[in-house]
Amino acid sequence: MSEVAMDATPPEAPGKGGIFTPFNIITTVILLGGAAILGLRFTHGLAATTNLSHTYPWGLWIGFDVMSGVALAAGGFVTSSAVYLFGMKEYKPIVRPALLTGFLGYFLVVLGLLADLGRPWRLPFPFIKSAGPTSPLFEVALCVALYLTVLFIESTPPVFEWLGLKWWRKLVGSMTIALTILGLILSTMHQSTLGAMYMVAPTRLHPLWYSSHIPVHFFVSAVAAGLAMVIVEGMISHRAFHHQVEISAERFESINFGLAKAAAVTLAVYLAIKCVGLAIEDEWHLLGTGWGAWFLVELLGFVLLPCLLFAVGYRERRLTLVRVAAVITVIGIMLNRFNITFVAYNWNRATTEIYVPSWMEIWVTVAFITFAVVAFRWIANRMPVMYEHPDWKGVH
């Protein structure tokens, strides 16, 4: 019978007692609102709750939850592959929170998909009833489903440690390398195939955003967004769970600077392949147009700028600069995915049919994010995510 070592439970966060804290109240209000809207969505259809139209079949739920959510949850595979495959042991402490964010991120993606699908109960159809292998979406669905299970297994160690199930914990421990490799394969594929989904519409997506290299653009920007998300998530959880964090502030900073360096390099690579993309499709003249200006805002304002901020922040060891850059990168990835999903999409249609997300769509998306945050907080408060469980110190 495994007894739980007394000091295994995390020290209680000071002054957080009681149910009716402002955090709990706000989250319950958001979640209930979200549930109500979803109820309306499933009784009166998508027309009643969204501004989707025949010309804009995909809106915020696909644009944010699926497209941006997947990219922001890329922190999981980036950090786990860095630590376990490429032997960068110094980043070990942030692997677990990153994996947990990844898992909850992908859960949010599936929630978004379920809300947006016409008949969500038929989600398993492509695998069990009739598969459409020619479709990029088929490949994305397959990889997201598999990767969700991989992430789930990878984030079970803290749970087993919490429950003291040593045998299970050892079993999962032994599979880490295989899981990380599988996770990396699945992530590479669906991050890039998400981009490949837009290759079918060369006339509907603006030529500046459309490129035959979209999959590579999506993948590299997802890696950059993952790194940025890990930094942002570290910033928030470091403050929220300060009492649990074991590693010294100095070590935490050096981890952040390591991530900043990686993010700077990835953003530089992303900027480079975007410029090459312009050259290959010979679109220099389009930069002079209105769309060109908007493209430059996205490219220079949200890729070049954070890249330089990361570089300067890393070089001068200024943590605030790194965090500002991380936030800009996260917003940048969302902007890029929104641009591709409904801003620069149907760019040559009459401007009377522009798609603007309805407040209900925004509310549901916020509700999904809140659900993820609440889950993260619930898990981190109980399980050894922020710190290493004493019995399993230094174990794989």
Binding site: G292, L304, L305
Partner: protein, 503 residues
């Protein structure tokens, strides 16, 4: 912050700020076409590339402003007439001197007027004249010097054709007048000056504008002097047309055989007098010189005939100069458009050659040929009395489904086309028989006999391979296209009343 970082961030900011505002100058074509009174200041190609866009010179404002000083302030007026170019730059082709001359002339004059305190003066800055993308210029119409205008000029200078027409005498190297050699200006004056012969544009301005100026000077009634007079569409349309245009005698035959040396078909009579009354000016047919077609267009295509042989010159339907082409254009006007416009009705092949080739065979070498006489007018047989062959009305109820049956005022239509054809000489001659017009609607069936019903050929569904439409489509397409061409109403309920129940 080391030197490196400052340099790097400055560079980044520059890129961020600089990029969106990078002015990508879209290079539109320099100047649009000249307006009626806007003249693009000419710049000889020999003087090299222009660094700034060409100047749009508003001739009308200048003539208004310089009313008192007269045209000689800019133009050279001598016995040869009024030279259109700016006198100050006419002899210069060196680049620097040309720029200097233009600027002295224009800016100098504007500066002088400003100094003298005149109320209106021209701009002095470069951008004001060399406008990067000038405003769109109103349409400009080339003047057509038609027979009526020619007749009015002839009345002003009775039997003094030498006032305008001249011939270049090689020997004396002077312009002299010779009887019966009058040609259109375009005969000798091309678009570009060739040695001593000025271009058409310069020649016309020298002759006409100078003469109008002179007469205006003496107070006599004179033609327009400003650009709009001849080039503004509204003004040109308002030029007075003579009611009765006297015939312009220039030694042309009244009627004659169409000359076609080497041809064997029966000869064609050409009624020159009748055609003169229809054509706008001699150049309508004599598009190069006032000669017979056969002089340039031989049986074999020859370079001086522009590679067009005689057969094409007479029969090419796509050219407005050929007989067939001109007949086809006239057949697309008014009521005739119903059958003739944009359709393959009345192809040259169907009419048959004898309508025109009704003369004798070309005589053997040397023997005399009877004088050509104008063809007697064609008397078409009168319309037969209405009978079941020519019903008063025709009711089509074969397909009545969403709409009630449709009754067609058959006789009314036939009469409208018939008297239109009788009044028109061309139509009555080419229709040859009264029944020919029936082929307009009753197509692909023998002329004259009682035509078969539409349903005979058109079935329920279209025959996709032969592109023959279904019966419903046949009715609609045949009637509606004609109605649209003639501008007659073609709404659904205009032809057949709606079924009681439906909307």
């Amino acid at each position: 912050m080391t030197r490196h970082t400052i340099l790097f961030s400055v560079l980044a900011l520059l890129m961020v700020a600089g990029a969106p505002t990078s002015e990508v100058a879209a290079d539109e074509p320099a100047a649009a076409t000249d307006g009626p009174s806007l003249v693009t200041v000419s710049w000889p190609a020999s003087a090299g590339e222009q660094q700034r866009p060409a100047v749009e010179f508003d001739h009308a404002r200048h003539t208004a402003a310089l009313q008192a000083e007269g045209c000689t302030t800019c133009h050279l007026l001598d016995d040869a007439g009024l030279h259109p170019g700016l006198a100050a730059v006419s002899a210069i082709d060196d680049r620097g001197a040309l720029v200097e001359a233009y600027h002295d002339a224009c800016i100098g004059c504007h500066q002088r007027r400003r100094d003298e305190g005149k109320q209106s003066s021209g701009p002095l800055t470069c951008g004001a004249c060399h406008v990067r993308n000038p405003a769109p210029i109103p349409a400009r119409v080339p003047l057509t010097f038609d027979l009526s205008l020619h007749a009015r000029h002839a009345q002003a200078y009775p039997d003094n054709c030498g006032a305008c027409h001249h011939v270049w005498d090689e020997a004396t190297e002077k312009l002299v007048y010779r009887e019966n050699t009058e040609e259109a200006c375009r005969a000798c004056h091309g678009t570009v000056a060739v040695k001593a012969t000025p271009s058409l544009r310069d020649a016309v301005h020298q002759e006409c504008v100078a003469c109008h100026l002179e007469r205006a000077g003496t107070g006599a009634k004179a033609g327009p002097v400003a650009c709009e007079g001849c080039h503004d569409p509204a003004v040109v349309a308002a030029i007075e047309q003579l009611a009765e245009v006297p015939r312009l005698k220039r030694g042309q035959p009244d009627v004659g055989w169409v000359k076609a040396p080497g041809a064997v078909l029966p000869l064609v009579v050409f009624d020159h007098v009748r055609h003169e009354r229809i054509a706008a000016s001699c150049s309508t047919c004599h598009h190069r010189r006032l000669q017979a077609c056969a002089d340039c267009h031989g049986l074999r295509p020859a370079p001086d005939g522009g590679g067009v042989n005689l057969e094409e010159a007479h029969h090419d339907r796509s050219s407005p100069l050929s007989c067939d082409g001109c007949h086809q254009r006239t057949a697309e006007l008014g009521d005739c458009a119903g059958c003739h416009r944009d359709t393959t009705v009345a192809e040259a092949r169907d009419i048959g050659c004898t309508v025109c080739h009704d003369g004798p065979r070309p005589p053997a070498e040397g023997s005399a040929l009877a004088a050509a006489k104008p063809r007697p007018p064609v008397e078409l047989a009168p319309l037969p009395e209405p009978s079941d062959d020519l019903p008063e009305t025709v009711t089509i109820d074969v397909l009545a489904d969403q709409y009630q049956a449709s009754t067609i005022p058959h006789l009314k239509i036939v009469r409208r086309f018939d008297d239109g054809i009788r009044r028109n000489v061309l139509a009555s001659r080419f229709h040859v028989s009264t029944g020919a017009m029936c082929a307009g609607c009753h197509h692909h069936s023998p002329v004259g006999e009682r035509p078969p019903r539409c349903a005979a050929c058109h079935g329920d569904a279209a025959a996709p391979t032969s592109d023959a439409p279904s019966l419903k489509v046949a009715y609609h397409r045949q009637c509606l296209t004609c109605h649209q061409r003639l501008g007659i109403k073609a709404g659904c309920t205009d032809c057949h009343a709606a079924k009681e129940g439906t909307s």
